[in-house]
Amino acid sequence: MKDKGKLLMLLMIGSETFFFIALIIGYVYYRNFTEATDTVAQHLDAVRAGIFTLFLIASSGTLMISKRALNKENFKGFNIFLLLSIVLGIVFITGQVTEYIGLYQKQITLSKDVFGSSFFTLTGFHGFHVILGILALLILLIMSLGKLRRVSIAGFGGVEVYWHFVDVVWLFVFYFVYITPLL
């Protein structure tokens, strides 16, 4: 593979996958292999989280559209859809932050019990990755607002893969944290 930036990002994603697997295993372990009952799940609003999930998925879609625009050298379309992806990402993060605030008001905190610890650690690390992704997209946007340079096309490959990865990780988190307690 000649695009070493994309290769690096794929490898790093592979590595990050193991990190998230470990965090998810922690959550699942406490829920299924100890006698404790999940105290967080009953306070979660799966529908609300589901809506924000759609925003995140949509942002992956808009990013793909913007890539297509880039390939066609339609820089205006590229900028618009890139901006849209960033906005959708920010909407997702806002959703997460308001959810945290709501939970803290219900006294469900990181230090409440092991499920509080798992929930905030897992979703928090994911949120952190989303924020990093938003920053990377922002950098791309700022760079492309000037004269679009080669390096940002190369960088785009890496950032795009990363953003999809964050998206996919969220689907797993959403499934294990929000959906499985309902099943």
Binding site: M1, K2, K4, L7, L8, L11, M12, G14, S15, E16, T17, F18, F19, A22, L23, G26, Y29, Y30, T34, A36, L110, S111, D113, V114, G116, S117, S118, F120, T121, F125, R150, V151, A154
Partner: protein, 552 residues
Amino acid sequence: MSLFINIQEGEDQLPEVTSDKGRLLWISSVDHKQLGIMYLWLALFFFIIGGLEAMLIRAQLAVGDNDLISPEFYNQLFTMHGTTMIFLVLMPALIGLATYLIPLMIGANEMAFPRLNAFSFWMTCLGGFLMYFSFFAGGAPDAGWFNYAPLSESNYSSTQGVDYYLVGLILTGMGSIGAGLNFVTTILTLRSPDIKLNMLPLFAWMIFINGFLILAAFPLLNAGLFMMLIDRQFDAHFFIPSSGGSAILWQHFFWSFGHPEVYILALPAFGIISEVIPVFSRNKIFGYKFVAASTVAIALLAFGVWVHHMFAVGMTNTVNGFFAASSMLIGIPTGVKVINWIGTLYKGSIRMTVSMMFAVAFLIDFTIGGLSGASFAIVPIDWQLTDTYYVVAHIHYVFLGGTAFGIFAGIYYWFPKISGRFLSEKLGKWHLWLFVIGFNFTFLVQHVLGILGMPRRIYTYPSRFGSWEIFNMISTLGAVMMFVAIAVFLWNLFITLKKPRTAPKNPWEAWTLEWATNSPPDLKNFEEVPRVHSRRPLWDLANPDNPDKRLN
């Protein structure tokens, strides 16, 4: 057709360091050779510190009921000794050698990501010094290098030591991941166009596989470390049983990293041995394909054996049986390698240099470590001997008799390339014999101590156990010999580095590409890369009438 090809330069190269002179440039350097050398110095620095810690430990244990060192300090010492030797000595030494040699071996002028390379080094460095800063910040970590919960949680370890351990390891872990990313991408993208993957020198091949191991193993540790840090700093409950957490989960995270880590430290050493033995036997490696394929087998199996560190935890016989089987199986590909190395000696013309002697010492002592390791796969034996000095003996045979002997072999072998000077063979032989004999004295008897019932991590033992005292004294005397050996080695380094650079390009008449460059290589490694048609390009160049079989 020319013998040389011009190397392709990328269009968006980084600004290059224009000169390799001056000390400040080392700090800002992104040159893989300078970073490799800095890794090696870092490893040496921490090797001395970790060694001094080991000497204090041995001094304390020389006689029973000794009160030379307080239990509190002793626990910090052995924790730091283990952590230092694994994360701050063996890792940087191996990564350093690889950082230096991989681009040279594959005919590249740089790593794929030079700045990431510098980032990796400085993260490792920062993590190491941060961990040692804990000594000045109230006390070093004192819960063992594997930091079992809940002993490592705030209610049982109230100093900041464990926090330093956690943050330090997260940083060095990120550094290692960066290095792993860099090795894999470099080998995949920057090889000279002639070199196919099956033509890589075995050292490069092992580092390539090792890169994947690092990428998969370290995130597991980092996840555990972050969870424990959140436990300690933000009152979470992951590993605190009294508030619903699980002490076992930490062990699973730690060992699902920890066992691959053993191979992360072993594979590069295997790689070094696979370079050194053929060159000094003047023979091709016996069974390149076996060595390469067994590496892959080891890497895959490495992730399926971690529970053999936890047989005494009280899991069901089914779980234990499964992991016993996988742990026994992983011994087979490792055994194949030993056979290949011995097979390489057969009908060779062996040059007994210090490097080669370390490789031979490796063969025997690593075999002992491998065999004692296999005995832990036999669950009932593990149920007796785990957490005794038998384990201490075993890990030292693997890490010191294995990896460290491999590193020494590599240092004596590549020293002319790296510095342009030869380490003294005479002092080297003193170093070797004192070290190997001292090593076996120290650790061979520890097998017996374990069988006699001496648990590990004790700061003292009752002096009424006469046989324990005798064996511990032998062990301590052996450690003193190793101490002297290292002093000889340091003296050797010191006087050698004052000599002028006289080493020719290829003093050992070796066959891999790094020996086609100057000693030491210029800032730009290769103006032109020799054409490569087999696994031994320089052999083909030197013997145009009798080249190896063409592979491309």
